[in-house]
Amino acid sequence: MIILENLTKILGGKAILNGLDLQIETGETLVLLGRSGTGKSVTLRHIVGLMTPDGGRVEVLGKEISGHSEEELKYVRSKVGYLFQDGALLNWLTVEENVALPLKEFGKTPTSEINDRVQEVLKEVELDFHADKFPSEISGGMRKRAGLARALISRPEIVLHDEPTSGLDPISSSIINRLVNRLKSSGITQVLVTHDMHSAFEVADRIALLHEGKIRSLGTVEEIRNSADEAVQQFLDGKIKGPLTQGAIDGVCDSEENGNEAT
């Protein structure tokens, strides 16, 4: 279980997270939606202790992790896999070496077992025929899948996905969605940050919409689809005007709608 309680984060003088409360149940797949810059990735980074909150608390697998040192975070991190936007693979290692890295680095797992597990996860993400290629030799979708394989090699209980389908063609996106659904059926807790509505509806148990550093709306796929909240409907329909674009952006929108150049 992941608990985020009254989470606050200030970056560049602006409150990116402003008292965010969220609870993610064990085995649940939760999708975080929201406009760019609303703190979705920042929320994910707090869950693995890559960022320290300015206020509030983060609890992962029953352990409070806010403000802990890298050493103290080792236990929680050993149970969490993280898929970065572009895979974050080390470019001087092959796909296979990248995937094996978390196990090889600590030298506790026998080489034969590492090899078996690498083959197993590479097969799972359909990259077993590209194991000896370098990250620069494979496509963006393949890099993401390799990143996912690396996240899975340690058999995590939680997997966090940061924009898993961004920049991918529909087929590559479907491959990723299928993988997420496979993980879901194996009982892994997952949090996905995405702008891809199709993907969100395909994989989510629940969807949360972030706005102004807080959860604006939270519900199952059906509840979100049928939500009466104007902000949710604006996001789903991609409307320019609405509660999510109040303030300065409204001014630009008005000018654009009037056919004037924004000055």
């Binding site: 890298e70 975070l73 936007q85 890295l101 030298g107």
Partner: protein, 259 residues
Amino acid sequence: MTGWIQALGGFLGRSAETTGYGLVLLARTILSLPHLFSRRRLRDCLDLCFTYCLGSFTVTAVVALFTGMILALNGGDSLASLGQENLIGRIVAISMIREMGPFMTALILTASLGSGIAAEIGTMRVSEEIDALRIMSISPIRFLVLPRLVALTLITPVMTIFAGFIGILGASIVAANNFGVTWIAFSNDALENLSTGDVYIGLIKSVVFGITIATVGATQGLLTKGGATGVGEAARRAVVITFLLVIIQGYYLSWVYLS
């Protein structure tokens, strides 16, 4: 006026912060030295030593050869007017071994390897590879900084000795061709006047410079912000800061040695 003072204050604050970060990074890297003796780290370190030597070999040789030749040409010209051209050997040998060799090698390695380390680690920083390492509980200091620091600390003295040798060789060619000083006379004069202390101070300087190049490069890399522009800026800052530190450290080490 207030804006100017604010800008100066901001610059000094950032500089102090970066210096503190660099010193802590160096201390933590030194504390993690025992981790070097794992097979993977040792292999990384040896690979880097080989790559670094290979990458800077040609440029060091060419620069050292011409530096020695320039020293011999200028020194020889002045000495010839006094009828003392047979002293070229000692002047070039002491300059190359004690001062020019370590300094010149440090500048070459800063430009080629220090900037490279900053750019490499900076790129990893902006593409979230450093964060990925942290999530896998792999310390970026042990995994990235330690092998680079050790490799540079080892290869800088090696390249300095090499540069000194090539520089003296270049000088001997000029001494023979332009001033009629035979190779035997040149090398006798050089060896008779070059003390063990000169060699030691040259090597000590090169070790200090090697540590500086790696630490500044890694610090700038790890502090990189933004995208490609941030990486370029990190590489530029690494070169500028290391140049300044090398020349200041060089002066004080010479001062300590001579006094």
